[in-house]
């Protein structure tokens, strides 16, 4: 089901909360040379250590479903439907080292977690399980909060394939 179909389906249900649309991702930090008045953007790295792992966090839901709590601000094809998982890229692709981070509430423990929405790159778009939920998404002029950007940057290939939702930490209120 592509995102247009999904949007249509949701609209007929009365819409409101999570919608779904497009597909690539966002997130990240940038070198803002000379921008004295501009805040530096947060940098998320999928490889950062010492963060909670899924097995340590009470969990519920289907990671292959757009409604899964970690996907609260994702925009792309779910890698779990493409040969990878919600936190693993499919074989033969490369995970973007930079991206944007969202904050999603875990319905089980009621805590907010920081999710890094890293893209997987280097193969043509997967085309499966399109999902676009936009909690906390902001326009592209806030790249650290935007899921419309193709985050296949800093990778060998800039071709977008699918998107992950990597749990990287507990959000500080």
């Amino acid at each position: 089901m592509n995102w247009l179909d999904k949007l249509s389906e949701k609209s007929t249900r009365g819409l409101a909360q999570q919608t779904s649309r497009r597909g690539w991702l966002a997130g990240i930090g940038t070198v803002l040379a000379g921008a004295a008045s501009v805040p530096l953007l947060p940098m998320a790295r999928a490889s950062s250590g010492g963060q909670p792992k899924l097995e340590d966090v009470a969990d519920t839901g289907d990671p292959l479903s757009c409604d899964y709590w970690r996907h609260c601000s994702i925009d792309g094809f779910l890698c779990g439907c493409c040969g990878g998982s919600h936190n693993t890229c499919p074989p033969g692709t490369e995970m973007s080292p930079i991206t944007w981070v969202g904050t999603c509430r875990n319905p089980v423990d009621g805590k907010n977690y920081v999710i890094s929405y890293n893209d997987c790159c280097g193969k043509t778009p997967c085309g499966q399980c399109f999902c676009n939920t936009n909690q906390g998404d902001r326009p592209m002029y806030r790249p650290d909060k935007n899921n419309d950007i193709n985050w296949c940057l800093g990778t060998e290939s800039t071709v977008y394939h699918c998107s992950t939702s990597v749990l990287i930490g507990l959000a500080v209120e």
Partner: protein, 383 residues
């Protein structure tokens, strides 16, 4: 064409007769041409081909025609979520696109400004630009024409932010200017562009004739990015840009002068409508036409996270005074708005189903275009 020639030669060699005395053979190798400039009510529909974005398409369409054959007049390729611009003054079309040497795998990336002749839809020329143009869901203002279309700027994101400046007369890249912390290029004054910044302000960059920075101006932060963010997808009417906000306000910014000038903010909704959650939304939620009308794609029950949902209604406003002058109940859920150019602008609504619905300015639904498309999100007028 070569196949036809080979076929003809083989036919002759075989001694077969085409009974040429019974009818006049049709000429081989004929290629259609178009009126140039293209009629001003024609549109170019950008089909991203989202699931296979290396094969994006730009359909040249006559929205007045009833049949598909009458509607579809030709096509341009648009690789990897391209951008598209029209110069009426130069009578040229520009596709700003990316090619990867190894296709879907990637490989060396080449970014190109491909210049098309509207009469033939053939490539007149191409200008290689640095392979760093912003890649993501398309925004009309990630590219812009300045100074009577003498210059083009292409916004870059690597994630460093800059703009490549192209001289369209000399067909060459002049250079690259830094736009730190800001995004997009809204044409401003004679040879400038303005960008929305992450701190909620706006930066105007003025260029010299050589494409270098001649000066800058900043608007202090005015955009509440967290609680009522401005969409980066405004309606433009005669050099004034009307930016809707997530909760239903409009921030007009006058770009006719040498620096962006902030106008007075107004609300799209009454207090009652706001309480019901009526908000703008979509991939392109706001457009203006040549007659001073603002069209806003609206949905009810809006909340955090619904800003890309689109809507089932279009509200029409008089841009001059912010008064609502009409309301359209859409034939199907819409996700993006566009308008055609010419004397009788028509509203084009990209549907949640992959079709384009055409409406008259008064809201009358004229037709659903019959061209088969997969993700037709943005429509461009040709003038």
């Amino acid at each position: 064409m070569r196949v036809f020639v080979v076929f003809s030669v083989l036919l002759a060699a075989s001694g077969m007769s085409l009974a040429a005395d019974q009818f006049e053979a049709e000429p081989l190798g004929e290629v259609a041409q178009l009126p140039s400039p293209n009629p001003d009510h024609w549109v170019v529909i950008h089909d991203l081909s989202f699931n296979h974005m290396r094969e994006g398409k730009l359909f040249l369409v006559d929205p007045h025609a009833d049949s598909v054959s009458g509607q579809l007049r030709g096509m341009m390729s648009a690789d990897f979520v391209a951008s598209f611009l029209v110069s009426a003054r130069r009578n040229e079309y520009y596709v700003i696109e990316s090619f990867h040497a190894r296709g879907g795998r990637g490989g060396e990336r080449t970014d190109v400004v491909t210049i098309y002749d509207p009469a033939t839809l053939s490539v007149l020329e191409e200008i290689i630009i640095p392979p760093k143009r912003l890649s993501g869901m398309p925004n009309r203002y990630q590219v812009a024409l300045l100074d009577d279309d003498r210059y083009m700027v292409v916004f870059n994101f690597t994630p460093s932010q800059s703009a490549t400046v192209v001289d369209l007369e000399r067909r060459q890249v002049l250079g690259e200017v830094a736009v730190p912390g800001c995004m997009f290029a809204y044409p401003t004054g004679k040879r400038g562009f303005s960008s929305l910044c992450s701190d909620g302000g706006m930066l105007t960059t003025r260029l010299g004739e050589d494409g270098s920075v001649a000066g800058t101006d900043r608007l202090a932060p005015f955009n509440d990015v967290i609680d009522d963010a401005m969409f980066a997808r405004p309606a433009e009417i005669d050099g004034v840009f009307y930016f809707p906000t997530f909760t239903g306000n409009v921030a007009p910014i006058d770009m006719r002068g040498e620096a962006a000038a902030l106008g007075e903010r107004w609300s799209l909704t009454t207090a009652s409508e706001r309480a019901q959650g009526w908000r703008p939304g979509g991939l392109w939620p706001a457009v203006g036409d040549g007659n001073g009308r603002l069209y806003m794609l609206m949905h009810g029950h809006g909340a955090e996270g619904t800003h890309k949902d689109g809507g089932d209604q279009v509200w029409i406003f008089d841009a001059a005074n912010g008064k609502r002058i009409g309301k359209i109940e859409l034939a199907r859920w819409g996700i993006a708005l566009s308008v055609s150019t010419g004397e009788r602008p028509q509203l084009m609504v990209s549907g949640a189903e992959p079709v384009i619905d055409v409406y008259e300015a008064d809201g009358t639904h004229v037709r659903t275009l019959g061209v088969d498309m997969s993700t037709p999100l943005l429509v461009h007028g040709v003038r």
